[in-house]
Amino acid sequence: MQNLVDGIASLIRIPGDALREAVVAVPLWAAKGIFLLYPLILLIWIYSMRESEVKGTLPGTDKVIDLRLYAAAALVMQIIIYAVF
């Protein structure tokens, strides 16, 4: 059983090592940029949504709430945290 497990592990390690080498070759600034791109794309998507999907009122109030502001606040905080740290 141990031989079987070790055999499978060796097979998996071949593409795994190749992938690791390829990923390690990506510069850290590029990796960080790609990571920050994710919340940025989400931000663009949210601001491209129709108003009917993001604006509404809560029960008991007439005040119209725009959820895009809250989504943007959360995403911008994420971008700042990951860009700085």
């Binding site: 141990q2 497990v5 070790d6 499978i8 592990a9 998996i12 390690r13 795994g16 690791r20 129709r50 009917s52 999907e53 993001v54 509404g56 009122t57 809560l58 029960p59 709430i65 959820l67 809250y70 989504a71 606040a73 959360a74 995403l75 905080m77 994420q78 945290i81």
Partner: protein, 261 residues
């Protein structure tokens, strides 16, 4: 991988969303949750840094916060802290118990074991499941003390979260996903993540060369389940359009477009 799987697909989160009075309130609650979630790394990390600064010779990392609380907080505030801690704990535990009881009673017991029974019958079954879940949780908490609770929870989650996120994303975003495809993706994905965990743990040299391999296990089981679900879905007949209306991105967008015209 684990964070989106929890915040998008975890049963306790989804059930809270489904319990909202309107679609807008559900959206608003998610936005509020997203803002609060931003502060969680600070809430988790800052007390650890304070504990290390307060007592650099902490023998056990799991004791860092209790020692800090004991040494720093005055007696009255300590009581308030523990009351708040217990309230938060009970809130999380009752959400998990409620969602577990609902899942087993509605999706397993009612569907496959005893359909068409009265609501009172299902209520009693739900309560019994809740008690059994508590007993299991107590036993599991004692058993898990052998190693880090955090690592154990993440390892267990990594087995299920990747495949479940894959089928949720495909089910919401791709109209061609079928029920059989999702089932195959879920079962195959879980089998794949279990196999990776076992191979990584028992091979002479682990396949993942990091301290926390569950991060990679979750990712690769997600990729595997995504491919398997897509492949099986394409080999099975598509779901009827009326079944997908209002649920899948393509038809939701089409309905919205028709309404806006």
């Amino acid at each position: 991988m684990l964070a989106p799987a929890y915040w998008i697909g975890n049963q306790a989160i989804v059930q809270r969303c489904l319990g909202a009075r309107s679609e807008f309130e559900a959206k608003a609650s998610f936005m509020w949750g997203a803002i609060l979630k931003t502060f969680i790394p600070f809430i988790m990390v800052v007390p650890g840094i304070l504990a290390l600064a307060h007592n650099p010779n902490i023998p056990d990392a799991d004791q860092a916060l209790p020692i800090l609380i004991r040494d720093v907080l005055p007696v009255g505030v300590l009581g308030i802290f523990f009351a708040a801690f217990l309230a938060a704990l009970m809130s999380s535990v009752d959400s998990c118990l409620n969602s577990a009881a609902t899942l087993i009673t509605k999706d397993v017991y009612e569907q496959y074991i005893h359909p068409h029974a009265s609501d009172r019958h299902y209520l009693i079954v739900g309560r019994i499941v809740t008690i059994l879940a508590i007993v299991f949780a107590v036993y599991f908490a004692i058993w898990v003390q052998r190693e880090s609770i955090y690592a154990m929870i993440q390892t267990l989650l990594s087995i299920f979260q990747g495949p479940s996120l894959a089928i949720i994303l495909l089910g919401v975003l791709w109209w061609r996903t079928t029920g059989i495809g999702a089932f195959a993706g879920l079962v195959g994905g879980i089998a794949f993540s279990c196999s990776l965990t076992l191979i990584n743990n028992y091979a002479a040299q682990p396949i993942f060369q990091i301290q926390d391999p569950f991060l990679y296990i979750a990712w690769w089981s997600f990729v595997f389940a995504l491919i398997l679900t897509a492949a099986v879905s394409l080999l099975t007949p598509p779901e009827p359009q009326e079944k997908l209306a209002g649920l899948v991105h393509r038809y939701v967008m089409r309905d919205d477009y028709a309404k806006s015209r």
